[in-house]
Symmetry: C2
Subunit: 332 residues, 2 copies
């Protein structure tokens, strides 16, 4: 468990997008964020008080969260003074980067001296059993995608919020770094040993009361040649009766692979339903979540209408339309 | 690379099957095996000279291979004296068990003192890039299965042997512990970090001359709820134009999962072909390899004939019939 509340470290982020982990936290867990700590040269900014480490501690922060995602996932030397000061002032430090905090001697020493934790949310904190596929109680929804980075985390969080507004028992289950920071816990399923993808997912989404919903963040795509193994293990481990497929209609190829075309959306729904039925025979797709930010306003309505006709499913942009139509379908 | 030849350590194996790693090595790499080392109480036996560590060293052995696979993959205390003596006498020690040799202080110290290696074939020796799905030259075949432990390694090795007899360029590519010991190298794909299953497979089976065949050992099954993620990543990374499906017809449920029925063989062929075509559009199944040891002699012929009619493919028991019919089909 991560200790809250958080002081968000934006470092020397070169633009707003570089602080996407902090942006996700701020968008979804505003109440956990006390302030932002920006280094000289930082071009990102949130609507939060600017704080030093000392300000954050005085305000009650428990953890400094590295909110910057850079290419290669590196921890640049310019950050070390601040991270060390945070530890020595009594804060835990949390990272979802590839570079490990505990590989940096000054941070390891400071954490030891101050009795604080270096939390690597991408590194599994425990080992997992292999998956069993045994049926378990409770209801589960998994977001899947035609590609990576098409809104699977956002959609699962939006459904959690919608269900809670309606008084339903519902919990978001995080399977990636930003999701884990937002949820406060979770498992980065792309970082577990391959044999344990499904097992880690079963562990993350255990048996619950019959009417309780787990809303599970999907990863990758069954049609992404780099990551489909993770997507399939997650699909089997989730035992989700409900799938929501996420899509970005202006993308011309699979993310990071210019030679790889996107799958047809309907084929992608069918493939996900078929695979999901191995461990949940009643699995079905209950909606399509479209990131329509790349479409013109007129094109957007026509596109969603056309998609509704092709799939027979509620098709929404969660950011613009909400996900009420999808939750309605699930309950009908 | 593993240093050959090998002295096979059978430990205190309680029956013949408990020494399955040694049996696989002996069956497929007889020339690399100088002798067997059996502890008191060992009930397994190979047709090899019995040797002490000193005998093995005198005969030219370079490596002591732990040839025993036990439940839990543990290294019992009764083995330590022998493993330590092997290191101090100048042998490397190789293990495919879950327990790590280097977690045992006496073995770590002995390896350091003698300048020998503790080789954990299950633990990836390097990191891998993520898969790209980019087409590469050379020809590739992957064995897939309706379940785990249905003959995927055996079949790939049998096809390598058959092709080499015919003068073809062909290399077996190992993806599991016993296969790695037989091949002398390879990658245990079930032990890599989940994001890199396909990438590790691409690395293991790189571009080759156009007529060269890589014969890739499959793992698990697309229909096994515990391990299907590994199977799919392997399928995408392999980019295999030819699939051979392996099957054990008397099995009543998926291995280790009494509640999970086996898939229909034809459905399993179709699902594997569909998934494989993401990275190799020409992928097709070219044969069925049946472990028929559980069938009566009369039932066996009728079963294979019926399977030929249902699939339109050559259907053989590789142990009894060889795999010539499958290689014929590949070349036709």
């Amino acid at each position: 468990m991560l200790q809250r509340p958080y002081l968000l470290f934006l470092g020397d982020a070169r633009d707003q997008l570089a602080a996407k982990t902090a942006i996700g936290l701020f968008a979804w867990r505003r109440d956990w964020c006390l302030g932002q700590l920006r280094l000289p040269g930082c071009s990102a900014m949130l609507d939060l008080p600017e704080m030093t480490v000392a300000d954050g501690v005085a305000a009650g922060a428990r953890t400094l969260v590295i909110g910057v995602a850079n290419a290669g996932g590196v921890i640049p030397p310019a950050w070390i003074d601040t991270l060390e000061a945070a530890l020595l002032s009594g804060l835990d430090v949390v990272s979802g980067l590839h570079d490990r905090l505990d590989a940096i001697a000054r941070l390891r020493d400071a954490a030891l001296a101050a009795g604080r934790s270096l939390v690597e949310v991408r590194v599994p904190a425990r080992s997992f059993p292999v998956g069993t596929g045994l049926p378990r109680s409770g209801r589960r929804l998994l977001t899947v995608g035609t590609d990576c980075s098409v809104g699977k985390m956002y959609t699962a969080l939006a459904i959690e919020r919608e269900m809670r507004v309606r008084g339903m028992e519902a919990d978001f289950r995080a399977t990636g770094q930003t999701g884990i920071l937002i949820a406060g816990d979770g498992v980065s399923v792309d970082a577990v040993v391959a044999d344990f993808i499904a097992g880690a997912t079963e562990w993350l989404t255990p048996a619950q009361q019959p009417e309780h919903w787990d809303l599970i963040e999907g990863q990758g795509s069954l049609f992404h040649p780099s990551y489909a193994g993770v997507s399939l293990g997650l699909l089997h481990g989730a035992q989700a009766e409900a799938l929501v497929i996420c899509h970005e209609p202006t993308r011309t190829h699979m993310r990071g692979l210019p030679h790889q075309p996107l799958p047809d959306l309907v084929s992608c729904i069918i493939a996900n339903e078929q695979a999901a039925r191995l461990t949940c025979p009643s699995a079905r797709c209950v909606g399509v979540a479209v990131n329509s930010s790349g479409l013109a306003v007129e094109a957007r309505s026509a596109y969603l209408r056309q998609l509704r006709e092709a799939t027979g499913l509620p098709c929404v942009d969660p950011l613009l339309d909400g996900v009420g139509a999808i939750v309605d379908r699930m309950l009908s």
